[in-house]
């Protein structure tokens, strides 16, 4: 048997010990579980998700990208359950050299569709102890860019929509990752014929305006 190391996951909020809070949490767990049969879980609080990613631009294959994802409880009640999912990805990252240091558990899900596969991360934020109002938990994840990653793509972490919290407007955070070769996001690109047509029109307009100005030099400044 190989030595796959065991890691102890400890509750991160050791202050949560008073009896009233325990009873409240138990009640919340029951509520959350009761709603689960309907496919949703209610979190009686506003949870926000934020993310930083460094670096985000001028990336090259193999370059580690350091993500920090943060979940914050803005109250009013403790969150007895919370998962945050990454967006689905296929082969944009080199998972073989990924590292993670997260409160709770960072799990990886392998998914199978009719025609292909995908992965996503499931950050299980709440394990043993609830996430209390005013508290935040973080997950540090380093993912090297793989050779298969496109020039630019968006990576998102979000509370899945089967969790219902008090304010869904702050439930996700996204970042766009760009290779060194990727052009920055600008105006939509035009094809060569379109550019030629646009240039010709501008020249024509300029010429017409110049002609008009020469015929009536005061027109630009005329006031009724």
């Amino acid at each position: 048997m190989p030595g796959y190391g065991a890691t102890a996951y400890l509750p991160t909020d050791s202050s949560f010990s008073d009896m009233r809070a325990s009873i409240l949490l138990a009640a919340l767990l029951v509520l959350a579980s009761a709603s689960a049969s309907a496919g949703t879980w209610v979190i009686p609080a506003d949870i926000s998700v934020s993310m930083t990613a460094e670096p985000r631009t001028n990336l090259v294959t193999g370059q580690p990208i350091h993500f920090t994802i943060t979940a914050t409880n803005h109250g009013p009640l403790p969150a007895p359950i919370l998962d945050i999912f990454s967006s689905e990805f296929v082969n944009e990252f080199d998972l073989s050299n990924a590292t993670a240091d997260c409160d709770g558990i960072l799990a990886l899900v392998a998914g199978d569709t009719e025609f292909g596969y995908f992965y996503f991360y499931d950050w299980i934020v709440v394990t043993a102890a609830a996430l209390h109002p005013g508290k935040a938990r973080t997950c540090h994840l380093t993912l090297p860019l793989s050779a298969n990653a496109p020039d630019a793509f968006t990576f998102t972490w979000a509370i899945p929509d089967f969790f219902i919290d008090n304010d869904s407007s702050n439930n996700s955070a996204s970042v766009t990752l760009r290779r060194a070769t990727a052009a920055p996001a600008t105006l939509p690109a035009l094809s060569a014929p379109s550019l030629l047509t646009l240039g010709s029109l501008m020249l024509l307009l300029g010429w017409a305006r110049l002609r008009g100005s020469l015929r009536n030099p005061q027109s630009d400044h005329s006031v009724a």
Binding site: M1, P2, Y4, G5, A6, T7, A8, Y9, L29, V30, A32, S33, A36, S37, A38, G39, T40, W41, I81, D83, F85, F89, V90, N91, F93, D94, L95, S96, N97, A98, T99, A100, C102, I105, L106, A107, L108, V109, A110, G111, D112, T113, E114, F115, G116, Y117, Y119, F120, Y121, D122, I124, T127, A128, L141, L143, S146, N148, P160, F162
Partner: protein, 454 residues
């Protein structure tokens, strides 16, 4: 001469009775008698029929010689209608109560798993030349060849019944204390849960849902037998269904939410605790967002390794009476393999260094032959790509094996073979054998809330 005949009759009766009760065979050769010639599995095979669930020409009405199977034959003739007969040698025979038993065996490039209960028979036949499903139902017993075909336009849509309203909270969890299973720590104990839609679908076909769930586990066990070699131990692991039941879980949610349901909700976790299950699998009828299966997988990309994997040992598979998901006849076993550290084939795997660098699935084409290629349980069909790009030929038939370089699956009748792995490169079977001893203990590492560790 007369006394010899009488002796023979007594021995035959005794051997038949003994094997019926304990699944053991009696070697008649020691008494100077030839064992009886193996009998055909199917006592009748009709002309091919067209059905709703299979293309024309791939379904046959059949009659199974249940009496022969009940006698726990050492060998039987698998007389499939569209290929040469194969001789199967028994791997196991398990009585499961009056009129209930399981027979499994292998030979001539085929595996067979046959479950019988009074009034119902289900079977799976996994051959190098193709996969078959045998079911008894309201319209009699039929054999269907499972043909993996390109999905029709619109296949990305969920099937219509996904929005079918389901009564919620129709079932409460009440488990008699005496039914709690003993802890057996050299096997993976599996709790198989299913939705009401699965039951309704199976019942509509005249089937028995509990038997179907048991059969999924028996297929998985046979995969562990088929894939085993000296390096992995035999079998890779034992897989045992400790319990199966319908749960009050609709199918309007996504498979993603199903994972959370299995991990967090009272019903599955209570059942897991009571039945001491190492792994929970949920079987649902409908795809969602085109997804056919999901499972947590240990040990890469920052995910917990096998020692810490207990709370994540859950999976979801879409599996019903017809092939909703064409990518794999064995998608239950596919997701099960992910939980135990197995990965896809290298063309469909982001993970260049998984739990073990060689924990990959395998596919290949026969040498200098126009016949179909083959793939192991966790391998996708690798489609034809650009010029010179390797691809899996024909149907790319899936075999009931996890990748193991030691195992060559051989069909001497059709002169076909498939080496099911590549040494130190593509050997999911080895990682399953490595992770299994951890999995045996996963149920012990779960507290009531599912996330505390001992």
């Amino acid at each position: 001469m007369q006394s010899k005949t009488v002796l023979c009759s007594i021995l035959c009766v005794l051997s038949s009775a003994a094997s019926s009760f304990v699944g053991a065979s009696v070697d008649l050769e020691g008494f100077g008698f030839e064992p009886p010639a193996p009998s055909n599995l199917f006592s009748f095979v009709g002309a091919p029929e067209s059905t709703e669930t299979a293309p024309p020409g791939n379904t046959w009405p059949i009659e199974v010689d249940v009496t022969m199977l009940a006698a726990s034959p050492q060998m039987l003739v698998l007389n499939l209608p569209d290929r040469s007969a194969a001789l199967l040698s028994r791997d196991s025979w398990r009585p499961r109560g009056p009129g209930k038993f399981l027979w499994t065996g292998r030979g001539d490039g085929c595996s067979g798993i046959f479950n019988v209960i009074p009034g119902h028979a289900v079977g799976t036949i996994a051959c190098l030349s193709g996969n078959y499903r045998m079911r008894s139902g309201t319209a009699g017993t039929h054999l269907t060849r499972i043909v993996a075909s390109a999905p029709p336009p619109g296949a990305f849509d969920d099937v219509a019944s996904v929005e079918e309203p389901l009564p919620l909270d129709t079932q409460t969890v009440t488990i008699p204390a005496h039914l709690q299973s003993p802890i057996v720590e050299d096997r993976i104990d599996v709790l198989v849960l299913y939705t009401a839609l699965v039951r309704q679908d199976i019942q509509a076909q005249g089937g028995n849902v509990q038997l179907e769930m048991q059969h999924l586990i028996d297929e998985t066990q046979q995969a562990m037998v088929n894939s085993a070699s000296a390096r992995t131990g035999f079998p890779l692991t034992d897989v045992f269904m400790v319990h199966t039941q319908e749960v009050a879980r609709g199918e309007s949610g996504t498979l993603n939410s199903d994972l959370l349901y299995l991990r967090e909700s009272t019903e599955p976790q209570s059942l897991r605790s009571v039945w001491k299950a190492d792994i929970i699998m949920l079987v649902r009828k409908t795809k969602s967002q085109n997804k056919c299966g999901l499972a947590y997988t240990p040990g890469f990309g920052g995910a917990p390794g096998p020692a810490d994997f207990a709370p994540l040992a859950v999976g979801v598979a879409v599996r019903v009476t017809k092939e909703v998901c064409t990518y794999a006849p064995y998608n239950f076993q596919h997701e099960f393999g992910h939980i135990l550290g197995g990965n896809h084939n290298e063309e469909n795997n982001d993970n260049t260094t998984p739990l073990e660098p060689w924990a990959l699935a395998h596919w290949s084409n026969p040498m200098a032959s126009p016949k179909s290629g083959h793939r192991t349980i966790l391998s996708y069909v690798v489609p034809e790509g650009g010029p010179g790009e390797p691809y899996c030929h024909g149907e790319c038939i899936q075999v009931l094996h996890y990748a193991n370089a030691d195992i060559t699956y051989l069909d001497p009748i059709d002169n076909t073979s498939f080496v099911t792995g590549v040494m130190n490169l593509k050997e999911n079977a080895r990682v399953i054998a490595e992770v299994a001893p951890y999995a045996w203990l996963w149920s012990d590492r779960i507290f009531a809330n599912g996330f505390e560790f001992q």
